[in-house]
Amino acid sequence: MIESFTLAVIGAGPAGIEAAINASEMGIKTILIDNFPLPGGQYFKQMPKDFHPSSETATETEGTILLQKLQKTDVVKLNNALTWAIFKEEKEDSWLVALYGSECPKYIRSKFLILANGAYDTPIAFPGWTLPGVITCGAALIQLKTQRIAPGTRALISGTGPLLLSAAAHLIDAGVEVVAVCESSNIFPKGFKYSFIMLNHWHRLLEGAKYMSKMIMAKTPYKTGWSINGAHGNEKVESALISKIDNNGKVIKGTEVEISVDLVVSGYNLTPNTGLARMIGCEMQYYAGKGGWVPIRDDTMQSSIPGVYIIGDCAGIGGAENARLEGLIAASAIAFQFGQISKQEVNAIFDKIKPQLNNQKQFGDMLSDLFSPKPGLINLVSDDTLICRCEEITFGEIKNAVARGARTIGEVKMITRVGMGNCQGRMCEHSVTAAIVQTLADEFISHNAIGKYSVRPPLHPIPQSYLAQSAIDEIITAQ
């Protein structure tokens, strides 16, 4: 017997939790599905339940309040449940959500869907990026904040965006020597034109200032217009080569410096996690400032498929505050569609949060203008650099495929096997696209022409025995 809900929210981060709370309070039968042991997503990531910190940070307190609010609702919460597919059931006019986990049902059914799958660090390839000791900004912050472990002793941070400052400050706080923070964008003097917007976001300014002061006290250089060129080492990272880069992301010869480190933190802003949206066929568009491919949505966060809403960073990078507002909008829109609230009520909610939403949009646009990874960063790789980590496909092999006539990312995939491994292309799509653009530089080929990876079930690797058991269960139920 498959349990039915009016709304299934997939992803229990700031967007998903806010959506689930509001939908439930408006009388919608809601289930909140998440892949991790505890809800919170990456932004409100909780420590393991046996861990007790001596005090909480402001963000942790904000998360605790939101999670307590969630506890008081009727939302059915499924943790440790990995959504590996979503199927449309034409007859029932509903969605079948397929789950993998030791303690969750194999399927649930829902009339409406909210996808709130968040984002991950944009993976940028450079020589040596597969060596143990090269980790993303997100990985470093999770290790420090929720696991309380220093992931190295001497670190180089390279990438773009404000998360680099957070990573630097937390590493320094943990006693790690941070030899440099290389910010690939030249944010000065461009950044000054945004001073007015920043004044509306004083809490973020304060946070940035706190991180900066940590770096100044530790004498950590913040090198804008610099980037890592390569990580070197035998079995693990032993040193990193850094250099100045020009506005296209190309290395400026003669500026290279080799530094001995045992940790490289790479953080090039975030990429929306759009796997489920792609799988069910939501229309997508390429929007570099929002992190890459994002679903097309209307003002109520509804995708091109009626009844499917997409919110938070998985619909375009906008941050946690924006994600929560989008959660409220989507929940209200569904409650209205389902007849739980009136047109007046839903309009009143939208009008009330409109100024906040605009404020968030202004801030998001500023960040994407200042910190989008430069397309020229692909110039950091050499022919033998792995672009697809899973299938171990090099930049040279991708160039060859293009030389043989491949023009779309799908064709490069068919020829080389890029994107066919365990990560399902999440780690290489950005770099493969950049490699095709670079190889065809004379043709000025667009992202729309290159296209994106198609996503099919299963979204994540799952054991065959699990699928087999699902099939057996179905036969038994049918009899």
Binding site: N35, F36, P37, Q42, M47, P48, K49, D50, F51, H52, P53, S54, S55, E56, T57, Y120, D121, P123, T130, L131, P132, G133, V134, I135, T136, G138, A139, A140, I142, Q143, L144, K145, Q147, R148, I149, A150, P151, G152, T153, A169, H170, D173, A174, G175, K210, K214, E235, K236, N273, R389, C390, E391, E392, G421, N422, C423, R426, M427, P461
Partner: protein
Amino acid sequence: MKRLIKSGSLLPAVQRGPLVKITVDGQLIDSYEGETVATALLSAGIRTFNLSHNQKKPRGLYCGMGVCYECLVSINGVHGQRACVTPIESGMIIETSREFKV
């Protein structure tokens, strides 16, 4: 790659869960219930979690949040488990540094 003991201004000290023993590549190692397998391995100085399946090159933690599948290890005989998202349980038997296909 050490567990943090002292309080910092951003990272207050934390009381960990129960101390448990796990087996990593045949050796008994101390860990704390609830922390991830990746944390336990890194704290024990292990950075190579597996070898890539074509070139047999060392791989370890990368994305840290379950999306990249670079940190796969074998846990209690089941291969291809993500070390970064799997919580430690007492008596776990973990094997690293072999080829893991999911």
